[in-house]
Symmetry: C2
Subunit: 876 residues, 2 copies
């Protein structure tokens, strides 16, 4: 028989899968002697068995009663006992933290009898009454699925009846009346009496926690965060302590370091005379933890010590929930704290320097996707802004978008591609889908640890919380700041790093890398084996990439250079040429322009390899659309010159002759080079002339010529000979040696399958995984992503979008085949990847494992690639 | 040192590569005692060495002089000796026969002195003079590259001067004058004296033969016939015999059996008082060989004996050249005779029955591409035709096309896709390119062994030759038959099986398989291991395929069934449906129609497997083009009803939403099935209902359901479950067991790469090599074949069109991977191929070697596939 239930002191603090994060933390803290209210954990298997059978596992409740008895013995209290009533909280605790997603019931065990007992024991009957009415409300909502607002309505109605404004003004009689009305509401709504038997309450609460695993917002959260549905949740039953027993009681949450910046020192908030949920829900704005040093100095010092102990124990920054019951500190939870990307970097680097963790750990601990945010653009500090208000800097980054007031609208418009900012008084777990789709979040209430702040930080969305100057009218769909009224759809900018809310679109700038980040990347470089190059088509991009740590250009696309305003007419003339002579004339005009392009890039990457890909796209991409030309021709025929008409007719003829059914699989890449060798010859000449010029300036250009879309060794052989001829000619004209490498992109499956023979002519391979993914799957990316791919991802037919995360089974296998065969022909074959996957951490891990030499990605992905490459190396 | 020169009796008759076909035949015949004029062979290596260095190999001529001396000793004659002059022929002889492509010089050794000697020896000075003037003409043309017609002009001018019409009327004095004028022409044209020294003549002739290997028509012939340029040619120097020494002399060519029909008995032609080239050139229409039985009965009987001996020796039908010099028979050449497809089949079957060859040889000897012609359509015997004329049935088959009169025009228009018939007085090797591009050939002169006849037969083109009723005016570009004038571009039909020339387009019918062909295919079936199925979408196609020997339907495409006139509107309604309900309504209408389709096909293939592929093409293929709808909408808006406008607007909306950039890689195949499972469910239901109906008629339908375009095992798993659900439902509705197989097409590279996991859900794989070739190469067939593929084939970047001959390196490797992984998951996995390659012999050989279970091809390719499968098995 499976054992489902463990007292905290019996639990396994390392086994988060079975005990859940919260249960493991409670077990661990209990066992290292920290003040934890006693309790027990029902492990995750129980929820899975329940969810599978839709029935409580055999004997589970027997085990619960046994452990309840042990708890009662320990405390000298008893569930339902009027004299010494035991009250418990029942909380979910999944293996992976899902803050706010799942259900919690506090004060369980209260009924008319135990309420009085609690009053007697605490000498505070009003407190007991208030606890009872809160319990009915929470139990009714969480366990009996009643709408929260219906209780609130009764409360408000009573307050109006008796003419009071604050909850604290409610008398014992008011609370008694409230309890009566609440119970009547329960009966009316659910056709069931509110359960007075605490054992019935407990069993119902456990079932409710189990079921909360599959509530829609939890399912959505797991999908967004890629958490398996098969983990299940543990249930923690813990004896209650009360932060709402007067002014010497309090409750709070804190991080052992600043989760926004990573700076050392406690960072948190607390509320006196409050229960735990009050802080997180953001309903009252709590006080910063620093104030506690004055208000409760002893407890404050205790917390400082606890933080140090926990950080050292867990070797990471912790997120703690605590309650002070009449000056006594209790810890209710500890878990690894969520943090911003920059905090994650700073904390890891600081801890490594303090020898709490190793440098390897500091690297492995980073989430590359999160680190990427450090490279996002930030508000230009020199920009003139129209400041509306300032709130709390809850989650850093700049977000610009139109104001919307509901999560549903944010989702709808955000998914349609609009940039929106979700503005709410506060957010709840039901708003998650809106936060996902919005650029950022602004709330008027709640602190740095409110729901909005935590969730936004986890997602890396900019957020400003507790911006109390903002008064929101959900009905009017406006918010006012002083006299100003901001309506729905107004453009605003929020800066989650400073808490500023600004009107309109504010200019942004590239971020600077922090000292710690630079240091961490330096460590990463010492562990990684993969080189990191960048995809760069301009000298500016190349310089930026180099600054961010790229040690070469892995892909310089020459077609972008053909699109410039002064060049396109020449390119079009080249394409429209009907004779080789006419084409050559146009190419001669392009030559000096291309030479300048290559000169600049090679110079920016001086001393490092630059892989230049010759022209790739189909020629019709450089001509106007057929319809556009048809319309222009119609106009010309009615009012243009004969020359115009002839030119447009020629364009139309050529465009039609170049029309393709499937341009992706058409007349492009090396196929152009074979049919029009003069185009590639011009490009080769431009490259070598640029190289010669740089060598004469005593620089060190490292030229690599890359032929795209090769599928047969013969194609490459021809182009290799052609390039060699041009090289020889330029060498003799310039009287200088012009060494270079020649290679190819592997971007159609056949190239991978015959890589052994292609490698006879190639000194390097670069996997063009964008096209290779298209051809391997038979997906046109443009069509797939707008047609069936969303359904495939939603239905889990594909685990990931293969255009973002490299498909190991298909594309990866081709890469492995090509690598093996290519290297068996040419052992020193240099092999890299230059598709979008070159910047994706999971794909980089594959590249490392497969034995590639380098990855090439966009300049702003270079730091992430350096980190991911080190992580892959360390994993091995 | 390489030995280059061998006397015929020293040659190796088996080594055609070194001795060439002619040299090997002469060696063989000499060695088995047949009457061959003595001579020697310069082997192919000599020509290759010459062509490589552009210079005569060292010592080659020394070896020639040595062998010439041995020949002179043997005959008691001497080259250049006035008393006993030796005259020789110098002929090319390549390893693979290239009839008429290369150069020949006869009567070499003549000059003023030896001419007189020849006159004295033969007692016929006029013959000697005529031989000399012919020699000057031939040598001038072949060796000195002068235009043939310039000699003819001199001859015609002289005849006019002296007032005679026939060459035979020329007196000795006339011939002397002609020789003088010819020599003057040579000097004037080439600025070189005609060489009187026979040794100079011989060396020049050998060089000319070497060079003829690279003359344009030979290069073209080799390209068309896929003969390597690296073979080179041998040179045969042979003592002359004379068929033009009076009425007891003759020359002729014959086949040991009828090369058109395969019937036994000699088949050939001869001319008395003529030299060899006269017969082949088709200038004089020769006499059928049967007449020789009367005219030269002894020689005729000798020839009958020689034919039997040679056939038995070579175990194949021979093509012989002979000369009779004053009643003495000499054999000048023997080679395997070219024949029509039906003759090839009949000869092989007859020889196997006569135990001359084995049944295996009879099979292996067939050219599958040629055999395919037996299945081409033929003139409907019951058709009323407008007969213009009748010529010789030179190469069987029916051809319909527009009349053109030059090879260049035939090539130009034929390559542009027009059907043309090349009409010429006679053809020469210079016309080859026109014959290749024409549908058929009609000549007014020449016999069954004329150039036109031999070449057309070799290519399998229909040809009618020697159609003397046709009078051609090349200037006017017309031909007349009696009073009728047929101009260029008139449509005619020729029947190369009967010799008929008909006006207009004549209806054709399917051919019947000959008794011998049926017998041969029966033998083939006993040797082959691959099964042969057919691609058939209708009951008629299925029945035809079965009749031609298919043992199943390997691919039944259901989309063709959607295109019928009464169905398309329903299909369109299904596509335009905006709700599942509307779509279901349309699908319900389609269900009974689809059920009928499947009922018919399963019935036609009763007892044999039928693989039905569910809907594959993108939905927009069933909707009109955007432009068409836009135009219709414009019309409707000016004069149509509101309902029309709304309908057209809906069509336009949907067509636009279905637009794809690369439809080949778009929303089709299983992707439709996943997004619209109701479509596949309808098809599955139609299949199973048809199956149930047939089972209730006590028939045996073997159902295989095939899911197209699968790339992940998950796609197939979903569809498998869906089909299983429908199957269960229909089983229980019909109260009958409905067994079936489910499988998938492997047509994107990823499917092959993850075949191991796909095989978990598939009972069979069918390689869709059309699409697999497109995605493996990254070629859109529609675009490639109109853009770069012709250049790739011409430039030999690809050895073959990969859409016609399966690419072993890329596509083949994927097939091997899929086969290995698929069978390791499921050892009894049934695997076939259903692309166009399923009917291509080279691809079938690959399928056999790779270990596939079956090939599936179009019904009319089934016999060829049976044969090719047997050949592949026998080769192994």
């Amino acid at each position: 028989m499976t054992r489902y239930v463990y007292q905290f002191e019996e639990g396994d603090g390392k086994d988060r899968r079975r005990f859940g994060g919260k249960g493991a933390g409670l077990a661990e803290m209990s066992q290292i002697g920290l003040p934890v209210p006693p309790g027990f954990t029902i492990i995750t298997e129980a929820s899975l068995d329940y969810l599978q059978d839709n029935a409580m596992p055999d004997d589970l409740m027997d085990e619960v009663w046994l452990n309840l008895a042990r708890l009662e013995d320990k405390l000298g209290q008893k569930l339902g006992d009027a004299e010494h009533p035991l009250l418990v909280s029942v909380r979910s605790g999944a293996p992976i933290s899902m803050p706010g997603m799942m259900d919690t019931v506090l004060n369980l065990g209260l009924n008319a009898d135990t309420m009085e007992g609690l009053g007697r024991l605490t000498g505070n009957r009003r407190f007991a009454l208030d606890s009872f009415r809160r319990f009915i409300q929470m139990f009714g909502n969480v366990v009996m699925h009643m709408d929260h607002s219906r209780f609130e309505q009764i409360l408000e109605a009573l307050k109006t009846e008796v003419g009071i404004h604050q909850d604290t003004e409610l008398s014992e009689a008011h609370l008694e009346e409230l309890i009566t009305r609440y119970k009547a509401l329960v009966l009316k709504s659910t056709r069931r009496e509110f359960p007075d038997d605490p054992k019935v309450q407990l069993e119902m609460a456990i079932v409710a926690v189990f079921n909360s695993w599959r509530n829609p917002r939890a399912v959505f959260y797991r999908r967004v965060n890629k958490i398996s549905n098969l983990l299940g949740t543990a249930v923690n039953v813990q004896s209650m302590v009360f932060g709402n027993m007067g002014e010497t009681s309090a409750t709070g949450v804190l991080f052992t370091r600043n989760p926004n910046t990573g700076e050392t020192g406690m960072y948190g908030e607390y509320l006196t005379q409050a229960q735990g949920e009050d802080v997180v829900a953001g309903i009252r704005t709590p006080k910063p933890i620093e104030e506690m040093a004055q208000e409760m100095p002893k407890t404050h010092q205790q917390l400082v010590d606890v933080c140090q102990l926990l950080e050292f124990h867990y070797r990471d920054m912790q997120d703690i929930e605590f309650t002070v019951q009449e000056e006594k500190l209790y810890l209710l939870q500890t878990r690894t704290g969520k943090r911003t990307a920059s905090a994650a970097v700073k904390i890891a680097v600081d801890m490594a320097k303090a020898d709490i963790i190793s440098r390897q750990d500091a690297i492995s601990r980073q989430e590359p996707d999160q680190v990427q945010r450090l490279l996002y653009r930030q508000i230009d500090p020199s920009a003139e802004v129209e400041l509306l208000a300032e709130g709390l800097p809850a989650s850093p980054g700049a977000a610009i978008g139109k104001v919307v007031f509901t999560a549903d609208e944010a989702e709808q418009r955000g998914q349609a591609g609009e940039a929106v900012i979700l503005v709410r008084p506060e957010t709840t777990p039901d708003d998650i889908h809106g936060i996902v789709a919005a650029q950022g979040v602004l709330t008027s209430r709640g602190g740095m640890t409110s729901h909005a702040a935590i969730v936004a930080r986890g997602m890396g969305k900019p957020a400003v919380t507790g911006c109390e100057a903002v008064h929101i009218s959900l009905e009017a769909e406006t918010f006012t700041v002083g006299e100003r009224v901001i309506a729905k759809d107004a453009l605003i900018t929020i800066d989650g790093g400073t808490g500023r809310v600004m009107l309109g679109t504010v200019p942004t700038v590239e971020p600077e890398l922090s000292k710690e980040f630079t240091e961490l990347l330096g460590w990463a470089d010492s562990y990684r084996r993969l080189k990191v190059h960048a995809n760069a088509d301009t000298p500016e991009d190349a310089a930026k990439a180099r600054e961010l740590g790229a040690t070469g250009v892995g892909l310089c696309r020459t077609e972008h250079m053909f699109m410039g305003q002064e060049r396109l007419p020449v390119v079009q003339a080249m394409i429209l040429a009907e004779t080789l002579e006419d084409r050559q004339t146009a190419l001669d005009q392009l030559l000096p322009m291309q030479q300048d392009d290559f000169y600049g890039i090679l110079k920016a990457m001086d001393g490092l390899p630059v892989t230049i890909r010759l022209l790739d796209p189909p020629l019709h991409e450089f001509l106007p659309d057929i319809e556009v030309t048809e319309k222009a021709l119609a106009v010309a025929k009615s009012q243009g010159s004969d020359a115009d008409i002839m030119r447009l007719e020629a364009v139309l003829r050529r465009t039609r002759s170049l029309f393709e059914f499937n341009p992706m699989l058409g007349f492009r890449g090396v196929r152009l080079g074979v049919v029009y060798p003069e185009i590639y010859a011009m490009q080769a000449r431009a490259i070598f002339q640029a190289q010669a010029a740089l060598l004469k300036e005593a620089l060190k250009p490292h030229v690599e010529v890359m032929i795209p879309l090769v599928g047969t060794s013969e194609e490459l052989a021809r182009m290799k000979d052609m390039v060699a001829d041009v090289n020889k000619a330029v060498q003799s004209e310039q009287g200088i040696d012009l060494p270079y490498k020649i290679g190819t992109m592997i971007e159609v499956p056949r190239a991978a399958l015959v890589a052994g023979s292609i490698a006879e002519h190639a000194q390097f391979f670069s996997f063009g995984t964008n096209d290779l993914t298209q051809t391997t799957f038979g997906y046109s990316r443009d069509d797939a992503e707008s047609k069936f791919l969303p359904a495939y991802l939603a239905e889990k037919i594909l685990p990931e979008n293969p255009f973002m995360v490299l498909d190991r089974g298909g594309v990866g296998r081709l890469i492995e085949i090509a690598l093996k065969d290519g290297r068996s022909t040419r052992p020193d074959l240099k092999v890299g990847i230059c598709g979008e996957h070159g910047g994706d951490p999971a794909s980089i891990a594959f590249c490392h494992e497969a034995g590639l030499n380098y990855v090439s990605c966009s300049p702003f992905r270079v730091p992430v690639a350096r980190l991911a490459a080190a992580q892959a190396a360390l994993k091995k």
